[in-house]
């Protein structure tokens, strides 16, 4: 029977290699797992050869590999011996590692467990009746109904929960093929091909504006689907739900929601209402205003751009 308290032997060099291959920092792993960067460093440098299975599972999740890929299979010695060896390397472990490696402490473990159980029971007793203190968190993603090839469009990630509560979040966004990230506010913490991650301590509600660009060979009519998740420390990841099912590649400006080759009053009001304050990151406000002022636009397929123009019926007046 597998226990999350079970100790398993890990391969520090494999952890470092995979982390570096994925362009992740020790800080990222530490935040994801809930330990210090010193601990990650010790794991990678094999100063601690064994970790709790739970931490190994979190480590594998953070590195997006199977736990088996992180195991040290070269040494079949009893884990207790490895622990004893690790114990001689460092006399005073940091607080978050305490209890993980020291056989001497194993005698104290029942007492520590008893104390923790008593503290937990006391905490439950004090908190009972005050309601569920875990925030009910929701993540949603909104994007336009369409965008043209080789065009920048916005994606808004909204995380809501108990207002004003400070939470540590890991937000993961899997972009569809043919879509590249341009920039984001706040900027993403890491990128692995089409997967972006943010690690943030933030108040709720939290909003991320992500600007993406479709590839210039994105085929008109293609439907692009987004997915992702948000994880609060110590909680299960929840999927970020889409406000609409997909984004379609089509020769219309993303702000022209009814596809009539105009950006009318309602559409420009909607754009400014949603994205005002994000001008600095490069959303195409000047083009949107130019199209609104001109009264219309056309899609220049060869040039891969929108050209504001007066609608045919209004020319010459």
């Amino acid at each position: 029977m597998t226990s999350q308290q079970e100790m398993i032997k890990i391969d520090g060099s494999a952890i470092r290699r995979i982390r570096e291959e994925k362009g992740l920092t020790q800080l990222y792993l530490a935040t994801f797992i809930g330990v210090t960067t010193d601990t990650i460093s010790r794991w990678e440098n094999k100063r601690y050869g064994t970790v709790k299975r739970l931490n190994a599972e979190k480590l594998a999740e953070a590195l997006e590999v199977e736990v088996g890929e992180l195991l040290d299979l070269t040494d079949k010695k009893e884990e207790g011996m490895a622990d004893a060896e690790a114990a001689t390397v460092e006399a005073t472990p940091p607080p978050d590692d305490a209890g993980e490696q020291r056989p001497a402490l194993s005698l104290l473990l029942p007492f520590i467990a008893l104390l923790l159980a008593l503290a937990g029971a006391g905490g439950w007793y004090l908190l009972r009746g005050s309601g569920d203190r875990q925030p009910a968190m929701l993540g949603s993603r909104s994007f336009p109904g369409h965008t043209a090839p080789n065009s920048v469009f916005p994606v808004v990630l909204s995380i809501t929960g108990q207002d004003n509560e400070e939470v540590s979040l890991i937000i993961r966004e899997d972009l569809p093929e043919s879509v590249q990230p341009v920039t984001a506010e706040p900027g993403f913490t890491s990128r692995d091909k089409g997967t972006l991650k943010w690690i943030r301590r933030t108040g709720l509600p939290a909003t991320i504006l992500l600007l993406c660009r479709t590839d210039d060979d994105a085929i008109s009519g293609r439907r692009l689907e987004f997915s992702g998740s948000v994880t609060q420390k110590g909680m299960t990841a929840i999927p970020v739900t889409n406000v609409r099912p997909y984004l379609e590649v089509a020769p219309f400006h993303w702000a022209d929601s009814n596809r009539d080759h105009q950006i009318d009053d309602e559409e420009i009001l909607s754009v400014y209402d949603r994205f005002s304050g994000f001008e600095a990151i490069g959303l195409d406000f000047p083009l949107i205003e130019a199209v609104w002022s001109a009264g219309g636009y056309r899609w220049d397929e060869k040039g891969g751009k929108f050209i504001p123009q007066v609608p045919a019926g209004n020319q010459g007046t």
């Binding site: 009001l269 400014y272 209402d273 005002s276 205003e289 609104w292 002022s293 009264g295």
Partner: protein, 130 residues
């Protein structure tokens, strides 16, 4: 006595005119001056202000809008109305000064303001006449 009443009335009118749109009311507007060829539209913006306000001023028949401050952003195809985009305007007062090609009859003046109140997904429109 009459003088004091007039002074009090003057102060009350002055205070009312100086009060910005009250909380919960995002935008109000009125024509402040209609004098010959000059017209001034005053827009009072509440707090929190909308991200954008679109002002559409109808051009009285037979007249042309010669100049405006701030300049208008768009003239309709038939030149029957001019539009302004007020972006990121803070709470307070904005004046739109207009100079027409001939004397303006107040009965011919009409404008519409469109905006979204922050936090709502719907637009509001108010109509302004003298």
């Amino acid at each position: 006595m009459i003088g004091r009443c007039c002074t009090l009335l003057f102060l009350l009118v002055g205070l009312a005119a100086a009060t910005p749109a009250w909380p919960g009311q995002a935008v109000t507007a009125r024509y402040e001056e209609i004098s010959g060829t000059r017209v001034t539209l005053v827009v009072e913006i509440g707090d929190p202000p909308p991200a954008m306000i679109i002002i559409e001023q109808e051009i009285p028949a037979g007249l042309t809008l010669l100049d405006a401050s701030p300049p208008f952003n768009k003239m309709s195809g038939a030149r029957s109305s001019a539009k302004w985009l007020l972006k990121d305007a803070g709470p307070g007062r904005q004046r739109i000064l207009m100079q027409f090609s001939g004397p303006v009859d107040a009965r011919d003046l009409r404008s519409e303001l469109r905006f979204r109140v922050r936090g709502t997904e719907s637009s509001e429109m108010i109509t302004v006449t003298p």
